[in-house]
C-alpha cells in the first residue's frame, strides 16, 4: 500500500499541477489578506478575533485540496493513465485507498502552504502598522489545525467525487458551482449548516461560534460522513467501471 501511495504522490508532483495551484493560493490568499488588512482600522486589527479571521483566509486551501482530490481520481481518466494504474495494481479498492490517503496527505500540505502564505503576507502588512502581530498566538492554533483537517477531508471528498464522475473538468465545475451557488441557496432555506461546504467550514474555523455553522464536533462528524460517503461511492463506481 505504501508504494501505491508514494506512486500517487509522485504522479501529482511530476506535473505542473502544484505550481499552478500554489500560484492560485498565493494570489487568492494574498489578495483577500491584503484587502482586509488595508481596509481595517488599527484598533480592530489589533484584536485577536480580527487576526483569527485573517488566519481563516487560509481555508481557501481546502477548496484547492478539493480540486487536487478530484484531479487525483478523475485526472487519470482524462489522460487515459488509469489503464496503466490498474495494470500495475489490478485490485481497484487498493488503488482507491491509496488515492484517498495520498489525497489526505496532499490536502494537509496544500492547506499548510495556504496558512504559510496567509501568515507571511499578513506579517508583512501588519509589521507596517502599529498593531501587535497575534497570528503566532497559541489561541489561533485551533484555527490552523482545523484548516489542516478541513483540507484533508476536502481532498478525500474530491477523490470520491472524481471517482464517481470520472470527468475532471465536469467534477471541478460541479463542485465549484455547488459551493458558490448551491450552498447559498440552501442558506435561504436555513438548512445550509448540514451542507458539505458549511460542514468543512465548521471544521476550518474550529468551532468558532456562528449562527450559520455547526459546532466543531458536529461539523467534523458531518464532514467525515461526506468524505467517507463520497469515498465509498467512488470506490464502488471505479470497481464497476470498465476501462475501455
Amino acid at each position: 500500500m505504501i508504494r501505491l501511495i508514494r506512486a500517487e504522490l509522485v504522479k501529482l508532483s511530476t506535473t505542473r499541477l502544484f505550481l499552478w495551484l500554489g500560484l492560485l493560493i498565493v494570489a487568492l490568499s494574498g489578495f483577500v489578506t491584503t484587502i482586509t488588512i488595508l481596509s481595517t482600522d488599527e484598533l480592530s486589527l489589533a484584536t485577536l478575533n480580527q487576526q483569527r479571521s485573517l488566519a481563516q483566509f487560509a481555508a481557501v486551501g481546502a477548496i484547492i485540496a478539493l480540486i487536487v482530490g478530484i484531479v487525483l481520481a478523475a485526472g487519470e481518466y482524462a489522460h487515459g493513465t488509469i489503464a496503466h494504474t490498474f495494470l500495475v495494481s489490478p485490485v481497484r479498492p487498493r488503488v482507491v485507498a491509496a488515492k484517498l490517503i495520498a489525497g489526505a496527505i496532499v490536502g494537509v500540505l496544500v492547506t499548510g502552504f495556504a496558512e504559510l502564505v496567509t501568515w507571511t503576507i499578513a506579517a508583512a502588512w501588519i509589521s507596517g502598522r502599529s498593531v501587535p502581530f497575534l497570528l503566532d498566538s497559541r489561541a489561533i492554533l485551533d484555527t490552523y489545525l482545523g484548516i489542516l483537517g478541513a483540507g484533508a477531508l476536502a481532498a478525500v471528498l474530491g477523490v470520491g467525487l472524481g471517482a464517481v464522475l470520472r470527468r475532471q473538468t465536469a467534477a471541478i465545475v460541479i463542485a465549484l458551482i455547488w459551493l458558490l451557488v448551491g450552498e447559498p441557496v440552501l442558506s435561504i432555506a436555513g438548512i445550509q449548516e448540514y451542507a458539505p461546504g458549511h460542514a468543512f467550514a465548521a471544521v476550518a474555523v474550529a468551532g468558532e461560534r456562528s449562527s450559520e455553522l455547526l459546532g466543531l464536533w458536529p461539523g467534523l462528524l458531518v464532514a467525515l460522513a461526506y468524505g467517507i460517503g463520497f469515498a465509498a461511492a467512488g470506490a464502488v463506481a471505479i470497481e464497476r467501471t470498465d476501462v475501455s
Binding site: R3, A7, T14, H79, A83, V88, V91, D242
Partner: protein, 299 residues
Amino acid sequence: MAGAPPIEVRGLTKRYGSTVAVDDLTFSIPAGRITGFLGPNGAGKTTTLRAVLGLVRPTAGEARVAGEPYRRLRDPLRRVGAVLEADSFHPARSGRNHLRVLALAGGIPLARVDDVLAEVELTGAARRKVGGYSLGMRQRLSVAGALLGLPELLVLDEPANGLDPEGIRWLRNFLRAFTAGGGAVFISSHVLAEVAQLANEVVIIHRGRLVAQEPLETLMARAAGGTVARSPEAERLRALLAEAGLEASISSADELRVAAPPERVGEIAAAAGIVLHELRTEAATLEEVFLGLTSEGPS
C-alpha cells in the same frame, strides 16, 4: 500456475447494452511463441485484450493469465507487460517520470527505469515531456513500461498503428528478440501482413467470435490454394485423380480445380497419356484468405 498457457480465454462474452462485442470466445496461446490476434476493426480484439488484462469485466466466461485471472496476479508487472494505446500518458509528465510512477507502484527497483529507457532507445528523450513525443516515441515508451518487470508475456494492442517503417522494423526486431529469450507475445492487428512477418500462431476473430486458431503455416497452406488444369479429357483426368485420392472439381467444360500441387497432377496426367493445355497454381494471398475468413462470418 505451472504449465498453464500464458493466456487462456474460455467462453468469453462481453455485451455493452444490446451490442455484443465478444461472443463466447475460447482460445489459448502457447508459451515461447508469437501469437497474432487478428480481425477487422471492431471485431472485438481490444475488448478481448482488456478483458484478459482485467480492465474490462466479462459479461460471461473468463480470461486467465498464467492460470489466474489478471486481477488475482501478484506483482502483475513481473508477469505481464501490456502495450495499449500510444496516447494514454499525461502530456506534462516526462517519459522517465511516467516509468518512475509505474516502477514505484509495481515494486520495481527504480534502476530498471533507465535500463528499459536504454532498451527502447529513449534515453536521450527521457526527461522531455511526453506531450512532445512523436507517436513512435510514445509507442516505445509504452513498450518500456511493459518491460519494467521483466515479464514472460507481452500483450500488445495494434502496436504498429501510426508507426513509420523504421518504427515497425524496430518493433519487429524487438519482439523477435523477446521471444528468442523464451517470452510469449500476443499481438493484435487488423492487418494480416503486419503479423504474418512475426507470428508463429494466429487467432482470428470476426464479430466477436472465433473464426480460426491455427499455426501460421496452416494459414499459409490455405493460401497456397490448389492447381488449375485444362484438358480436353477433363472428366477422365478427374476420375484418375479421384483414384489417387485427390479431390478435383470440374469448373468448366475442360477445366479442373484440384487440391494438390501441380507436379502431382502433371505426373498423373502424363502417366495416363492425357493431354494438358494448361497447368498452373491457383494461389490466394494471405490477405485474401484472411478476408475470406472474416467476411463469411464465423464458422
